[in-house]
């Protein structure tokens, strides 16, 4: 039974990895995939409903929505992946150091992360983005500021749990120095949960980045970004609902893929939790 389950999870993981990789490929080759120029305006074609020539319709400036969504995947997906990459590496290193070092350094560092956690996430991100003054880069920085403590806490907890296990004492007796202990022994053992958290975070961050852009705190006009495209389409909701449906659907599909990937990854790495969360 268990073996069957595991094979099933493996297959699921494989399919989802291909889907996620497909999204990434779309983002990488966005330039070649667009049927039209995503920035070319043509007022004669403004607000066309979906048709054979414009599969998802056009927006109020006559730009092809499908092309804009494809190009938008670059700003949305790339910036989120970059964000998660940097934040998870930084947060994890910081957390391991805290857990390993202990003592005063640890307690000061944890108080600092407490402070960041005391702000409701998006509120703080909005303020940071507001202070820095909008733009996609600044929105990413704002989201980074709110998301690092999660990784730091996770890595710290895991490190603390590993620190006193016998295998580490054995490694130490075998003559490993601090760095070897951390990188060769602790890191591989705590990487699983960090990886799962990071994958699940991709979906959340995609939505929050789009949210900031929706509020005009992220990508600036005319840059194609899913959130800001929806914000532009908002006033046309009555006459041209497809302007928000396209980008909204794109966000939804990407979030679904990454969330499923995260869930499946967790099942795969930690079969005990299967079907529980």
């Amino acid at each position: 039974m268990n073996v069957i389950h595991r094979n099933h999870t493996k297959k699921k993981l494989f399919v989802l990895l291909i889907l996620a990789f497909g999204l990434l490929l779309i983002a990488i080759f966005a330039d070649y995939l667009c049927p039209y120029d995503p920035y070319e305006q043509n007022l004669n074609l403004a607000k066309q409903p979906p048709s054979a020539s414009h599969l998802l319709g056009t927006d109020m400036l006559g730009r092809d929505l499908l092309s804009r969504i494809i190009i938008g995947s670059r700003s949305s997906i790339f910036s989120v992946l970059l964000l998660i990459g940097i934040v998870s590496v930084f947060g994890t290193c910081f957390g391991i150091l805290c857990g390993w070092q202990g003592g005063r350094f640890d307690s000061i560092a944890m108080r600092i992360s407490d402070l960041f956690l005391a702000f409701p996430g998006l509120v703080f991100a909005m303020a940071v983005a507001g202070v820095l003054g909008g733009g996609l880069h600044n929105a990413v920085i704002a989201l980074a500021a709110i998301s690092w403590p999660k990784y730091a806490r996770l890595a710290r907890g895991q490190t603390l749990a590993q620190r006193d296990l016998p295998y580490l004492a054995a490694a130490r007796l075998a003559g490993c120095n601090h760095w070897q202990l951390i990188f060769r022994h602790i890191l591989p053992n705590i990487l699983g949960p960090v990886f799962v958290t990071a994958t699940l975070d991709i979906g959340t961050m995609l939505m929050e980045l789009a949210g900031l852009s929706y509020l005009d705190l992220g990508a600036k006009v005319p840059m194609a970004e899913w959130g800001s495209m929806m914000s532009n389409g908002r006033s046309m909701l009555q006459t041209a609902p497809w302007i928000i449906l396209g980008p909204g659907g794109a966000i939804f599909i990407s979030v679904v893929i990454f969330n499923l990937l995260g869930d499946t990854l967790r099942d795969y790495l930690d079969p005990r939790q299967r079907g529980q969360i």
Partner: protein, 314 residues
């Protein structure tokens, strides 16, 4: 209990100080020159002497820490400065808009509880049956929809197509709170249902449940008397934790439905770079969040005799 509450309140002081310090520092960094900003907004070119003089008058030539403490003293007296844009007192503007947001938050929390707790329990009890899959499916979908997308979809269907509910909220009638509340509850309930399900499942898997079953205690008695009583603590804690994302979510949703609360005020001021108002928003939201967590801790302690009797438990 009283002693514990006081102790926890004292522990909150450094956090609150940190919150104010961080907010103050951030806004100072941004609008490093409130005066220059102010004149820029009015649109007059002024000589550097006048700016220096105005700065000295407001104490802006003092060292950073001195300024911070002066600002903090004013804050404690309810003086959060005046808005760069409207010139009105920030504290009063803020307090006048707060009830609308609190109302929206409360209605969303209540809706979430009403939806998520029964569904979570139902889904845990019928694990891996059709109903469980259905609940999990919908909570998964709800989790993957950004709340502004939900808001726009609901608006399109119920306000524009079916014309059942108003597009723009007016804060006064019952109908206008429905769409914002539903929007916020959908994303919050989808997360929360999953969490409730996990908590209840975990409790159902414990040995004592099996023991009770073996002794022939009825399923319903086990569920209501034992399992739910034991899981209610985690359920409350998780709810308090999700208030944080709710507070952020209100900003977006208020903006879409033109709900006249602090979230809309904050977004408007961010767009116009009205730093005193942004500052007030961050501080207020953080304080609300911290106090919600404080109250949760107290409730937790009150409800769980184990934590209470251990004495420490901090």
């Amino acid at each position: 209990m009283k002693k514990y509450a006081v102790k926890r309140l004292i522990q909150l002081i450094p956090i609150l100080l940190g919150i104010t310090f961080l907010s103050y520092g951030m806004m100072r960094l941004a609008g490093s020159d409130a005066i220059t900003q102010l004149y820029e907004n009015i649109g007059i070119a002024v000589s550097p002497e006048i700016i220096e003089e105005a700065k000295a008058k407001l104490g802006l030539d003092q060292p950073f820490l001195t300024q911070y403490f002066v600002w903090l003293r004013n804050l404690l007296q309810g003086d959060m400065g005046t808005s760069f844009i409207s010139g009105k007192d920030v504290f009063h503007t803020f307090v006048s808009k707060l009830p609308a947001t609190v109302l929206l938050t409360c209605s969303s929390v209540i809706t979430t509880i009403v939806i998520a707790i029964p569904l979570g329990i139902l889904s845990a009890v019928h694990q891996n049956k059709t109903i469980d899959y259905l609940v999990r499916f919908f909570s998964f979908i709800g989790n993957a929809l950004p709340n502004f997308f939900v808001a726009l979809l609901l608006m399109y269907v119920f306000a524009i197509r079916m014309k059942l509910l108003p597009v723009i909220s007016s804060n006064t009638d019952f109908c206008s709170i429905i769409l914002p509340t539903v929007t916020l509850s959908i994303s919050m309930a989808s997360k929360y249902t999953r969490q409730v399900r996990t908590v209840v499942l975990e409790e159902l898997g414990k040995d004592y449940v099996q023991g009770a079953r073996a002794r022939g205690v009825k399923e319903s008695v086990i569920l209501w008397r034992n399992v739910l009583r034991a899981s209610i603590l985690s359920i409350i804690t998780l709810l308090a934790l999700s208030i944080g994302s709710l507070l952020g979510g209100t900003a977006i949703v208020e903006n879409i439905f033109m709900w006249d609360g602090v979230g809309k005020l904050a977004v408007d001021s961010i767009v116009m770079r009205d730093y005193p108002v942004i500052q007030a928003y961050v501080i207020w939201m953080a304080m609300i969040y911290v106090f919600v967590n404080f109250i949760t801790d107290c409730i937790y302690r009150y409800l769980d005799p184990r934590v209470r009797l251990e004495g420490g438990g901090l």
